[in-house]
């Protein structure tokens, strides 16, 4: 092939031959390879002009004689060593690593629930549900940014800042509004507490309302209306206090399996003082909370199903939080 006259169009096939001194356009580039091969074959000059070659060789000799090659200094533009030797990590790689690091950090931060809940000993830490299992980077990522802010905002003014369910509910509502990916994760987590995914909306509505009320120091949150609100579909305030305090089954410290039945009322004792305090701080309710519904055991109402004890419930009257 090397003997073909230069530059003429040939109708015959002129694909690149292996023996031909010419670079191939690139193996395995997929799309366009055929075209590239054709173009390369068409554009490369087959023949070598002997005279031109001699001129070049003469120039080479002259430079060699002058010692130019020996003394030559490599400028930046002359350094074409493979990147591994020179470059190291590209900027993109560095940024990707940093982003991953921040993401994981955000996840950890969200898991802890922020400084408030941490200081309160809020019980998200030892949560059996296994925060780490939720913290898949894929689903968590959009939420990681969300979780810290709610925790943070919950901090300053909020008396209870439970950082657990309240924060989660808040994030859930936000996620619903924005259609974020964390929505499903939150819904599942809250479903445990609320007694089912369908109940999450109502549960969150009540929870957040209680939180709000609690902030105002309303002790009476303590469940007046049991009727209230399970039906509450969405957050915006439900007038009827959806405090459905779930009284802890007497005796049994809110065993995880036992769903505390919906109490007709029970507001009576608020054991919020201590009870809630415990409830909030500890994951496992203390035995002596037997009576105390609101504080910690109030899992937002209609929990007929499994109520994980460690859900740091934001006590309905929030009494608890204030107390601590």
């Amino acid at each position: 092939m090397g003997e073909l006259p230069s530059g003429d169009g040939h109708t015959g096939p002129r694909r690149a031959h292996p023996g031909r001194p010419g670079p191939e356009p690139g193996p395995g580039t997929g799309a366009g390879t055929g075209l590239e091969t054709l173009l390369a074959a068409a554009l490369r000059v087959d023949h070598v002009d002997a005279e031109a070659e001699q001129r070049a060789v003469r120039a080479f000799r002259a430079a060699r004689l002058a010692g130019t090659h020996r003394e030559a200094r490599t400028r930046r533009r002359d350094d074409w060593r493979p990147r591994g030797l020179r470059g190291g990590r590209s900027l993109r790689t560095t940024l990707a690593v940093l982003l991953a690091g921040f993401t994981l950090g955000g996840v950890a931060f969200a898991a802890i629930g922020g400084p408030d809940s941490a200081s309160r000993g809020a019980g998200d830490g030892p949560r059996p549900a296994g925060t780490p299992s939720d913290a898949g980077p894929g689903t968590r990522r959009p939420g990681a940014a969300d979780a810290p802010p709610p925790a943070a905002s919950a901090g300053p003014g909020r008396p209870e800042a439970v950082g657990g369910t309240v924060v989660r509910c808040r994030a859930y509502v936000r996620a619903k509004q924005h259609g974020e990916g964390l929505l499903d994760v939150l819904r599942q987590r809250l479903a445990d507490v609320a007694g089912g995914e369908k109940k999450v909306d109502g549960y969150c509505a009540r929870t957040l309302l209680k939180a709000r009320e609690g902030a105002e120091g309303g002790r009476e949150g303590a469940g007046e209306d049991t009727t209230g609100a399970p039906a509450v579909p969405d957050l915006p305030a439900v007038p009827t206090a959806p405090d459905v305090p779930v009284p802890v089954p007497t005796g049994a410290p809110a065993d995880p399996t036992g769903a505390p039945p919906l109490p007709p009322t029970v507001p009576g004792e608020d054991g919020d003082g201590e009870g809630s305090g415990d409830g909030v701080t500890g994951n496992l309710p203390d035995p002596d909370q037997g009576q105390d519904q609101d504080g910690d055991q109030a899992r937002g109402g209609v929990t007929e199903d499994v109520v994980p004890p460690d859900t740091a419930v934001p006590g309905p009257g929030t009494g608890g939080t204030e107390d601590e």
């Binding site: 003429d8 001194p21 074959a41 060789v57």
Partner: protein
């Protein structure tokens, strides 16, 4: 289209080229001739895409500089291709500036455009493209696309190397090459091009 990564840099004869360059740097004249023969066909093709008929003159200037600065070069065979392409390109741009000639458009091009193109025979599978035809089409591309295509296809540079030669961002060069190849594919006739359909050229890396 590949990511312009490492696999593309390795051409069939790069090992031989790298060895020849090293020996030439040590004074081996024959090795220099070997390197010349390995590099010149692509270099000349590249220059023809840039400056058309004056490619040989520009190539001569380039080889003078390559021969003189040979001691400065550091790298392997693929790197040598990039280095020489850069030198050739600078000479070409100087040439164009001196001549105040636009890089595209020659009479050759006009003549070729009047010829019936491959799409006039739709059933014919395109097995080759004539040099004149290819050259005219490439030179009719927007400048950035033409250069990106030439460096990729003729010199065989990967994305990063081509970007370095052109002094542009790799992403921009990749995009320009994509677009240029896509346009060429369309001009050469969809059915006529072997293997690939033009649509695949639109893929981003």
């Amino acid at each position: 289209m590949g990511h312009g990564g490492e696999p593309r840099r390795a051409q069939a004869y790069d090992g031989e080229l790298g060895a020849a360059v090293t020996r030439a740097q040590e004074g081996d004249e024959t090795a220099f001739a070997v390197a010349y023969r390995l590099v010149q066909p692509a270099l000349l093709g590249y220059l023809r895409g840039l400056v058309g008929d004056e490619a040989e003159d520009v190539a001569s200037d380039a080889w003078l500089e390559i021969a003189r600065d040979l001691g400065r070069f550091k790298g392997d065979g693929a790197g040598f291709r990039g280095w020489t392409a850069t030198i050739a390109r600078h000479r070409a741009l100087d040439h164009l500036r001196r001549r105040r000639v636009r890089p595209q458009g020659t009479t050759l091009e006009q003549d070729v455009l009047e010829l019936p193109g491959p799409h006039s025979t739709p059933e014919q599978v395109l097995e080759s493209i004539s040099t004149e035809h290819a050259l005219s089409l490439v030179r009719a591309l927007p400048r950035d696309q033409a250069e990106a295509v030439l460096l990729r296809v003729v010199i065989g540079l990967d994305g990063p190397a081509a970007a370095r030669v052109l002094g542009k961002r790799p992403g921009a060069v990749r995009t320009a090459a994509h677009r240029g190849l896509k346009r060429l594919a369309g001009q050469l006739g969809g059915a006529g091009v072997t293997d690939e359909a033009p649509r695949t050229l639109g893929e981003s890396t």
